[in-house]
Symmetry: C2
Subunit: 340 residues, 2 copies
Amino acid sequence: MELDERKMTILRAIIQNYLETGEPVGSRTISKYTDLNLSSATIRNEMSDLEEMGYIIQPHTSAGRIPSDKGYRLYVDMLMQDKQMEMDNLKLELNAKSEKLDSILKEAAKVIAVNTNYASMITAPRYHRRRIKFLQLTQVDNASLLAVVILEGNVVKNNLIHVDEVLTQETLLKLNLMLNTFLQGLDIEEINASVMQKLRTESGGYAPLISDILDVIATSLENEEVEAYTSGSTNIFKYPELNDSAKASNLLTALEEKKELTELMYQEGDSDRGIQVYIGDESPIEATKDCSVVTATYHIEEGVYGKIGIIGPRRMDYKKVVGTLQNLMSELDQIFKKGK
Amino acid sequence: MELDERKMTILRAIIQNYLETGEPVGSRTISKYTDLNLSSATIRNEMSDLEEMGYIIQPHTSAGRIPSDKGYRLYVDMLMQDKQMEMDNLKLELNAKSEKLDSILKEAAKVIAVNTNYASMITAPRYHRRRIKFLQLTQVDNASLLAVVILEGNVVKNNLIHVDEVLTQETLLKLNLMLNTFLQGLDIEEINASVMQKLRTESGGYAPLISDILDVIATSLENEEVEAYTSGSTNIFKYPELNDSAKASNLLTALEEKKELTELMYQEGDSDRGIQVYIGDESPIEATKDCSVVTATYHIEEGVYGKIGIIGPRRMDYKKVVGTLQNLMSELDQIFKKGK
DNA sequence: ATTAGCACTCAAATTGCCTGAGTGCTAACA
DNA sequence: TGTTAGCACTCAGGCAATTTGAGTGCTAAT
């Protein structure tokens, strides 16, 4: 059987109607809805065909039809082809003077959630391949040193390190110089045993201190779970089909834990494949089997990028979501470019 | 009418039973439950009295009784009097080497949520009256300065500031020295116009830069919404009485927004009144009208403290919750004392 | 190829009935 | 005078029967 023009029109009508109402849609509705001027009976025949082909489903005999995952998939693929999305013009309202990564991200998550009425999540750029740009030790008081590490992309990490002795200004200066000389430009994985060994011998009497410092820096950078911010998770209550307590609880737990979702977002290998859409069972993780997830990538610079995700019901307004994401992506790209 | 010993026993029995089951409790249950050896009929009479006094409520004719807010209140007050709480011994598993405030707090929130099976929230210590301990500018690259501010309690804040010119090492050193001399030991509110004026004149050619810097520092410290972390918000699904979608949605929104809850926690003026319990309508905020909220204070040092809150159903296991909070409070107090 | 008509199906809402838990009251008892 | 047994009454919740209405599939006519 062939998926001709008319069948497509009908399918699209079914999907769009279902997106709006969330109720199974019947033949009569379609007959009025479209401008095909066909009677409900004809539509019925076509719908029967569409069902046979697997694009729509009858939840039970004598109910209307709803799109299957396959149907959604077709619809989404069509959408993605005509790139011309209408975008509402969203703006991040940010404190321009000082750029704080996390507040940008939080804001972005919120903007998305509010605009789309779905749940959103955004991950901080991944440390992976992020290089050390600058590094500094400072004596804060008798017992503690402050270690500040700035990574490419101007991500700042700081750690307090407890020490037993007070270091002189001179020693600190020496240590700082040394640390920077040896570590600048390296990414975390490149700080291997040989580099560390060299540092230790160079440091003269301060080998144990250096070890400590490297240790703290390394663990604080490595152990870093990818930071992630969610927003609008309660939006899911707006969609009755997610609104039974078991499903809602699962989803909310996933949103609270974030870990699994982060994996989902990064799971397509490391490359940036633009906007990805997971419909229902297509998703590799259990928690979102009843939802759709749309993810996108934003860039800070070569090899440093983060992800944005939108989680909503299967009958998500894909058009709007994709548009919003594209918009936000470019907005973020711009912000980070300016920051450089 | 008087609330004699026997009535108290019965009331306590009713509450305890209701805490366990969540179902209205009837006279027969109590007759068996307590060791008073009274028939259900007698209990009925007593219950009728208790209801008249407002300690218990009948959700509908011919159902059992449930505690009223007044009843809970009495129960909680009694609890608070015999301080001897059993505490399960919870331990924060923390990376001992570097102490990062936010990870301690996150961990604490989680520990509470897991231990109690309620939702928890913890706020970072309030900046209020927090003094500047140390302050440093560093040139990161051609276009940006890094400003690190360490506050009492070893809370570290950092900000990148964009500049147009490259400063020499010497200038930086001078600026740093100056900033520290003038600002050390001040709290945010003490940085007033006169201090700023003095700084500007002292700085010679760098007045505009200084203004910028002060601006960034001040706004970043002032605008800081009190940071707050929540955990276990999905625990509320475990309690059927909160589990209808309207209530759940409200509560979860409040937990996500955090703002209102933060206000609740700090609303009792600034002093530390130990453990506070808000039962149902006693709470000043709308979102928790169907819940109980228990808050406690932990201390970092004089005048610097944060709050912990537990949000659960009215029939919360107050005994356990209060115990857990006391335990955690002392645990936190200890951690921060060690850190000093 | 399209349509009107009709019989059929099934979920959801409505109704009525029953049951069991629980109460309040009264009269009897210690 | 406080306690208890007994009984009538209430009401939520569960269950089954019934109705309703939206929607389908099929067939015969156009």
